[in-house]
Symmetry: C2
Subunit: 245 residues, 2 copies
């Protein structure tokens, strides 16, 4: 009889090895096969060169998840790696949907998502209530994205934007800034981070009207402050409440 | 001349050692003094017993931060530990505010906040856009909390509630559920987790109308699904978009 397979859905954090949790490291150590999008699998391979790797290009998420489940069916211990957290726009919801009623042994291993990793580099933008919104309209109608941007801006949430742009969506961030600018002041404190924890890591704290001109890419995470967010010595800081420190 | 002090503001994750990042472990290893709220300092002490510890009871956040900065001024390498992430309702915003214009060497080390740690236990509730709201009115007027609850419910965000209750605020979660129930259906898929990664870890996936009767405490994290969130085999799953898998 085969050994019983197991699937870890592992958030590896923003990219650097040391941003992984100890639990993620242990899951990867225990795994026989590591499945993932080519770029993230490569980041892991540097530290676990002896594993078997199964990689797929971008956008083939469903195929990638199915491959991981098929390996588990064959009795393999498998880690499916995701950047950031495995749950936040990650693979774990798709894995659980595809697994359906079949009884797989699946464990989601959380990780440092870009909102947290990027936030720490900028200062403390997420010190109070915040909303996370993806600008990707690949799976979501634009009307829903716009409704959420408006609601978050109106209720004075700090807003963290994932997938602010891609080659096909070059002007989405500018559009999102205009939506927010219709409800918030142009001097609202904002920030962005590119390539968190990787080569080419860059960041900036700036105003909402300046953010409009940012050339974002798919490795950029954007933060729009609440009315209470401050620029303190070049850092983006949202106090923990509305009363004085 | 003294050595140059440094302050790490370290998110230690939900509580278990293995939920810390490798970077957090290394920061603690490098530190001479560890400062924190008694409960979290105790969690760390088990793994780093040889360090010097400076602890303060709950609610003395400002004093705790000032103590950490004073130690850094004396040339010490200090880690200030926070549960979860150091930025999400964490100590790093207060640290940066108190440091002000003084040139301290401060590094925020991100960690797995309860939304991510709890989410992984429940399934994948944060697979799509979400809002994080604290129900604590210690530093925030209730009108702002209510406005954000309404906005998030109306725009169909998944909502993650921090600090859903305390001894003094026993009925806040019930109130919040009523606010959301005025805008969302009673069968909305919800979930809660208590004592993530610690002794007494419990969780449940249930409906919004059932959530109203939960006796939450300060170690509970609550998730209210979007209209798209599903209960799949007892797990709380929010798909990554609105089109079919």
């Amino acid at each position: 009889m085969n050994q019983k397979g197991k699937l870890y859905v592992v958030g590896i954090g923003p990219g650097a090895y040391e941003q992984m949790t100890v639990k993620a490291v242990r899951a990867l150590e225990k795994s026989q096969v590591i499945v993932g999008y080519t770029v993230y699998a490569q980041l892991v391979r540097e530290h676990f060169p002896e594993k078997e790797y199964v990689t797929t290009p971008m956008r083939q998420e469903k195929e990638r998840c199915q491959m991981a489940l098929d390996l588990v069916k064959k009795g393999k211990i498998v880690s499916m790696v995701c950047s950031g957290d495995s749950g936040v726009y990650g693979m774990s919801s798709l894995i659980f949907q595809l697994a359906g009623e079949e009884s797989f042994d699946i464990e989601a291993v959380p990780g440092v998502t870009a909102a947290l990793g990027g936030g720490a580099l900028l200062g403390a933008p997420l010190g109070h209530d915040f909303a996370v919104i993806s600008l990707s309209d690949l799976l979501t109608p634009m009307e829903i994205i716009e409704k959420r941007l408006r609601a978050a801006a109106q209720a004075d949430f700090v807003i963290c934007l994932y997938n602010p742009a891609s080659k096909k969506r070059a002007d989405y961030l500018k559009w999102a800034c205009d939506v927010v600018l219709s409800l918030r002041g142009p001097e609202t404190v904002c920030g962005w981070v590119k390539n968190i924890g990787r080569e080419g890591e860059t960041m900036e704290v700036l105003t909402l009207k300046e953010l409009k001109d940012l050339e974002a890419d798919m490795f950029t995470t954007v933060f729009i402050g609440s009315s209470n967010t401050k620029n303190i010595q070049g850092r983006m800081i949202t106090p923990r409440g509305y009363r004085n420190v």
